[in-house]
Symmetry: none
Subunit: 284 residues, 2 copies
């Protein structure tokens, strides 16, 4: 897409760093998915859907990082160095496919909201409207960002970027104001972790608009004199940054969800637990 024309030449270290981080991300996502799936039996039945969704999120991410890596390898061709110089990686002519990230985000970001609301195990009257708000806002945030991401026109990027920021800030508002109000109903042992989970979402999410702005800033012909060609360093930084942000926001966040579920299970009285087990038809 928009990145085709802008693929900068990379030294082997840069190319391999991105390639290797993508591979490590696939392994991390798939491994944490197995952990979340199989840890379900360790927590009380009402927290199991949260762990199930956590596992599905990282499995979706594992698939997309596998595909992103294939696309990375297809987008570059190795050119031998001459006169004893190290070779370099230049654009093969095939585009590096941005869409995998957006396909991943549009599927997983709403599910991250579901995870968080599900592990709180609020009453239905509170949980349903909260989940609808967060899921719709998350889908809008990703969907509105995409037309800007694939555009080469600076103003188009700005307009869609700003439009995408509206649901982004709305999510922050809902997470902070509405979710804070419901924290009182959570066991004391789990409150610190729930706050941490919200923080992880916010801190990692902050990386995405920064990367969006950097990409936009280096578009050819954007603002002459201020903006140069996209550098190899920027491409490597952004790809590695996306990978770490995704690992933290999905696998790391999932670990927090798991810990919250374990703490809340431990906070239940033995009779509550037994009753839930009975009511929940636990077989599996």
């Amino acid at each position: 897409m928009s990145l085709l024309g802008a693929i900068p030449t990379l030294v082997p270290f840069q190319y391999n760093l991105v390639d290797n981080i993508f591979s490590m991300t696939v392994a991390t996502m798939a491994a944490s998915g197995l952990f979340f799936f199989m840890s379900r039996s360790q927590v009380a039945p009402k927290f199991r859907p949260a762990l199930l969704v956590s596992g599905i999120v990282v499995f979706i991410a594992a698939y997309h990082y596998f595909m992103i890596r294939q696309s990375w390898q297809g987008a570059y061709a190795f050119a031998d160095g001459t006169g004893g110089a190290a070779g370099s990686y230049t654009g093969s002519g095939k585009a590096f496919n941005d869409f995998y990230r957006y396909a991943d985000w549009i599927l997983t970001v709403p599910l991250l909201m579901v995870e968080l609301v599900a592990v709180l195990a609020l009453s239905k009257a509170v949980a349903r409207p909260l989940m609808v708000k967060l899921v719709v806002a998350a889908a809008l945030m990703i969907g509105l960002g995409y037309p800007g991401e694939i555009s080469d026109v600076w103003m188009t990027r700005v307009i869609w970027g700003v439009a995408s920021s509206v649901p982004f800030f709305y999510i922050l508002y809902v997470l902070w104001v509405e979710l804070t109000a419901s924290l009182d109903s959570q066991p004391v042992e789990a409150r610190g972790l729930i706050s941490a989970a919200r923080l992880v979402l916010l801190i990692t999410w902050a990386f995405y608009p920064i990367a969006y702005a950097i990409y936009g800033d280096s578009l050819p012909g954007a603002v002459p004199g201020i903006v140069g060609e996209r550098s190899g360093l920027a491409v490597v930084g952004i790809q590695v940054g996306y990978a770490f942000a995704d690992i933290t926001a999905k696998a790391g966040f999932g670990v927090l969800i798991y810990l919250i579920a374990v703490r809340k299970t431990e906070a239940m009285t033995p009779s509550e637990r037994a009753e839930q087990e009975r009511a929940a038809l636990v077989s599996a």
Copy 2:
């Protein structure tokens, strides 16, 4: 098959859109399959077969969309633009394989009928004849459509299309008349969802004959003066439309089946549930 001669040239955006939507469909189908399989323990034993079948339907679809995407990539070749123009995608000479869709439908559409009847948990005297009617009609509907789909002869397409419509309308009749009669035996909490599930089937199914008619309408030499060459826009619209219709009719429909099963489980008394668990200990 029939599409070979008619593959129109696509601009990169069109080609990539279809390619990316196919990838996202693979991810969506496989992820929802994991969800349906692992959610079985959350519902009462008698609803678990419905969730199992839902998971199998979307796994079959994930496989076929993976294959459809391979076929799409094989059917097109990228041609560089000249004089600074963007390149384009033209037919590689290999056919885009329509059969994957029909293989998918002939396996999954009867199973969608099984899902719906299974989650209703009707008495055997009612469920068996209902399931036989719906499964046979669904298989006939797909099987009779295929000879028309692969034909280049306009009249052949019409005849098989009409033949395929007979079981199609029969299914509508059975879903509306016979299934409506049995709705009274369902818990009140689940009736709205069951009606929604029938509507999802009907609305998404309406897309398939429309796509069939559009493809037929643009066959070379069909009706001179009325029918032109198949356009890139039509191909992209139909492929993207099929993908969204399949996601809705399989993954979306499966989510409704899951919600119906959860609601019906919640509507059971604790003693009913305990009794069922005991009776079901045979399995797992």
